[in-house]
Subunit: 158 residues, 4 copies
């Protein structure tokens, strides 16, 4: 579906090209949207807590629900040939998540450029901070080439 | 297994407490160890590439093999009551990974403090860079309290 | 948490000891409970459909919600030292599931013995059959030994 | 990639259309091939054992390696437009798998028809039986329609 050069055009040609700029707030009221989910048993590991890799699908699920809330369902965007490649991910695990806990994933769109945008996340359980995260995305077309972000998405940026 | 306060003592009490300090080299020779694995079909997603969350178990598997290579199998460490909590994760996706590709996960221990250490990773396929990553870990005892790092681990740091 | 002999006492000492007896109905009204979930992008594979392994956490999530609905939350059962080991799983994939689809997981308790019980499942999307499944479970204590099923669970069996 | 009717033509129009016919042997010498893998920490759950859903990717990885061993790599088959839809899965969990264990996945092709074939599996650790499984597959083309099995695959059947 995507050419091998898929992400290349996002690169800056230097070793250090981290784009992460956001500093996720620990205050839920700083986020315009929150998605609620419940931890599955299958997401725990032998330490008795949610495995650290399992947070990324939580963030993704929250992004999908936020896009739907904004009137731009991800399935429609994909049908139009626009996709959001994940370029960078950062997660800070502050308190573990456990089986059956109900997690609020707060999120907001942060810094945006013509072809990339960032999202900040705050994960809470009963108003207690559990994790923060930032993801950086690039808009690509069906051939995997970077394309300009839709205006509505650009407008969400800070 | 772990108290709810498990990670708390690693916190610095400020909003910004990112510990990531490493800048992973793109040169495989900068890493003392490499672990080889093959992409499973179950790890791909509907974009036809490896889902971004699936890189984290790759890093973990490489850490486990590196510890074994160093003569300190993770199962023994866990049996002794020492565990390595994941405090932070950063991944930069540069080129997608695909089903059946053979991935080299190069890694090295970076900055270390009394209770935390960082690891840097370079993922390559046929010497082509696919991703870089950094993880930050804290040593905890069976009660989830931070403990001093073993001397052999501290010695690996830069 | 469990001894190596955990499942042994459920065995019958013969090669053929399949316990599956249920024939899941394709009619949703034959099930007393249904749990609704939405397919995550992370659950799809490079065929563009939900990976077949991802159905098992769907069944598990439905079981957990059914127990809660019955007034016996799984976390409480686990806290009391009773766990439900999965002894057998059977899934029949009839139509693929896709990203973002809303799935109804219908389920019911079927055949029960003193130490095992079976559950039947029907997965539908917009009343269209997608899959059926059966799971066989054994009740074990904290030491991993089979124990008698709670009376309320036995009463649910056919 | 596949039409919504993908699996339909495999159906028999009856409620009961389980195709599972194999009875996996507990004797490793009954299998012509074995694939070795090591349990990842990410595959464990809060019971301290490998989550039951994680066995299915093990079976899949073993199938992929067996096809490669036979000179018919799955990526080539997919490039030629032939895919192997999973129609049914059955797993019997006899003894739990644990983190870091080295698992032998023994497998063989069993009953085959013009459009479907079955595979039997035996999972062992240090010659100790841990699980058995059967999967049923159908050959489909790029449009998701059932196609005849390749002759070399048919010849492997019993």
């Amino acid at each position: 579906m995507f050419s091998a050069s898929r992400y290349r055009d996002f690169d800056r040609g230097t070793v250090r090209c981290v784009r992460l700029e956001l500093d996720p707030s620990l205050n839920p009221t700083d986020y315009p949207y929150a998605h609620t989910l419940r931890v599955r048993f299958a997401e725990t590991d032998a330490m008795g807590i949610v495995h650290h890799s399992r947070y990324l699908p939580y963030l993704e699920e929250a992004r999908v629900e936020y896009l739907r809330h904004l009137g731009h369902p991800y399935v429609e965007l994909r049908a139009e040939g626009v996709d959001y490649a994940v370029l960078e991910v950062f997660v800070q695990y502050r308190q573990p998540l456990r089986f059956d806990e109900v997690v609020q994933v707060h999120l907001r769109v942060g810094a945006a450029t013509r072809a990339t945008f960032q999202m900040a996340y705050l994960l809470t359980v009963d108003s207690q901070v559990r994790a923060t995260a930032v993801t950086v995305h690039g808009c690509v077309n069906a051939a995997g080439r970077p394309v300009r972000m839709p205006a509505w998405l650009l407008a969400l940026g800070e």
